[in-house]
Symmetry: C2
Subunit: 138 residues, 2 copies
């Protein structure tokens, strides 16, 4: 069995990753919506996340509290500087993971499904390895 402290640290890391996961999904989606349609409306966010409106409203509240997002009642949502930064990182990660899975020979649909879950748990080192692989496989 692995060293207990290390194992505990790893689990703790995953739990922390978990807490930012939702934030990452939101800001990434908000950035995409703004880019594609000019604005991020709560209804669209809810539809694309597969979640009810109130859930989105509450999440937006948390994001705002955490300084990732700005929003006024009955208005659409905007990213703050740090929200934009998180969205950028998150998007890049997503694309690398997706591209990596495809390069590995995984079908597009599956790659899209798995990337959504995997992306939040990939360290910088592993991400680099993914990029290297993509490069080498071309």
């Amino acid at each position: 069995m692995p060293d207990a402290d290390k194992q505990a640290a790893n689990f703790q890391r995953v739990r922390e990753a978990h807490q930012v996961e939702v934030a990452e999904d939101y800001v990434e989606l908000i950035a995409d919506l703004i880019e594609a349609t000019g604005e991020a409306r709560a209804a669209d966010i809810a539809r694309r996340l597969g979640v009810s409106h109130p859930t989105v409203v509450k999440a937006i509240g948390r994001l705002q509290r955490d300084g990732l997002v700005e929003s006024l009642p009955y208005r659409s949502v905007f990213l703050t500087e740090s929200g934009r930064a998180m969205a950028e990182r998150s998007k890049r990660r997503h694309e690398v993971v997706l591209g990596f899975l495809k390069a590995l020979g995984v079908a597009d649909e599956t790659a899209e499904r798995d990337a959504e879950g995997i992306e939040h748990h990939v360290s910088d080192e592993t991400l680099s390895a993914f990029e290297r692989f993509i490069r080498d496989s071309r």
Copy 2:
């Protein structure tokens, strides 16, 4: 932007994966503890997950309710048939992901860290691709 329904379905899938994640971590760890020490004590589980005892007790309660585990008050924890099956799958997945990351050139420590988060989000198809890669890289 991707199709809204597909995107929503993907997010939903990740949320579901999330719900079984904790269960997988527990049964896998319980199986390892039983194998290594003959029994799975709550205190050890807590230590290795990096979590308090009461958290473990509550989790065990949920696992028992879901038929993955059997336990009597003040006694150690046992896996049911389906708990053992889940532990098996989970362990195999874990090992494949870990071996894959290492084969890709990721440092052991990092591979161990990332595998813990990634393993729960890898579909069978992607897992096969990982295995293929490990095989080919030898």
